[in-house]
Symmetry: C2
Subunit: 154 residues, 2 copies
């Protein structure tokens, strides 16, 4: 598992939403906005607590993860001032962590610290998605010594 | 090719950035923020005009599209007021449109109408990515008659 730099962790904490890409084993990609929390190594995403209200296509991310655990998560900052554009692209694997695991309790606490909305939702009763990063790409490259100056990544 | 509803087109015009997911033929997903324009049927994404400055991983989206044209594009609105969350998930195929095509000229005009930044960038000299939607999922479902009331999709 890779580790985040302090700069990357600060960026992860500042942003409020990421976009999670999964793919079927037949290489059909899927992508959805996700709220997330990070413990410094893994990232956690809560599941909807009301599965009976969830249409099948809204669970596509789960079906994909069970079929093919490879995922990509991008967390970015958009601005019409393109010198302010930034993103972290995290690629790795995803697993479902069940409510009886100690890691699950920690994840729920982290999610509720970031999103007070989750205090009123029984997310502790559902598995959480854990993302184990294998690679992290940061753009603009913090080692390049240059600020972002074009929409290169966009 | 699918068609967008007026409500979906208005949402596409209002938002400024989407996230494009691609996958290798071996089902490894990738996702990146993208600026886009829509002509009512296809969506267009410009390529960086300075390929010599582009690190290989920043062209992953192109390598994936050439290898596997299936893509997913999510365009969403995040708010800490979760009753305001919304997204469009577009799944379809992507193609590279070369600068000598009439469609390319139209795409460049549309991109520059939405992003004045592109007026100063020679995007007309590079191919553009054209996304041909096959399916569009709108959340919250406009036919459900209910406002978004939970973070169901997040």
């Amino acid at each position: 598992m890779t580790h985040f730099t302090p700069h990357q962790l600060a960026f992860l904490q500042t942003q409020r939403v990421g976009r999670l890409a999964t793919a079927t084993s037949a290489s059909a990609p899927h992508v959805i906005p996700v709220c997330y929390a990070c413990d410094g190594a893994s990232l956690y995403i809560a599941l909807d607590a009301k599965p009976k209200r969830v249409a099948p296509e809204r669970l596509r991310r789960i079906r994909n993860i069970l079929e093919n655990p490879r995922v990509a998560l991008v967390i970015d900052r958009y601005s019409d001032d393109w010198s302010q554009l930034a993103y972290l692209l995290i690629q790795g694997t995803a697993a479902l962590v069940q409510p009886d695991a100690a890691e699950h309790s920690r994840a729920v606490i982290l999610l509720r610290q970031r999103y007070v909305q989750y205090l009123a939702m029984p997310i502790e009763q559902q598995p959480v998605i854990a993302i184990r990063p294998a690679t992290v790409v940061e753009w603009p490259n913090p080692d390049s010594g240059k600020p972002a100056s074009s929409a290169g990544a966009l």
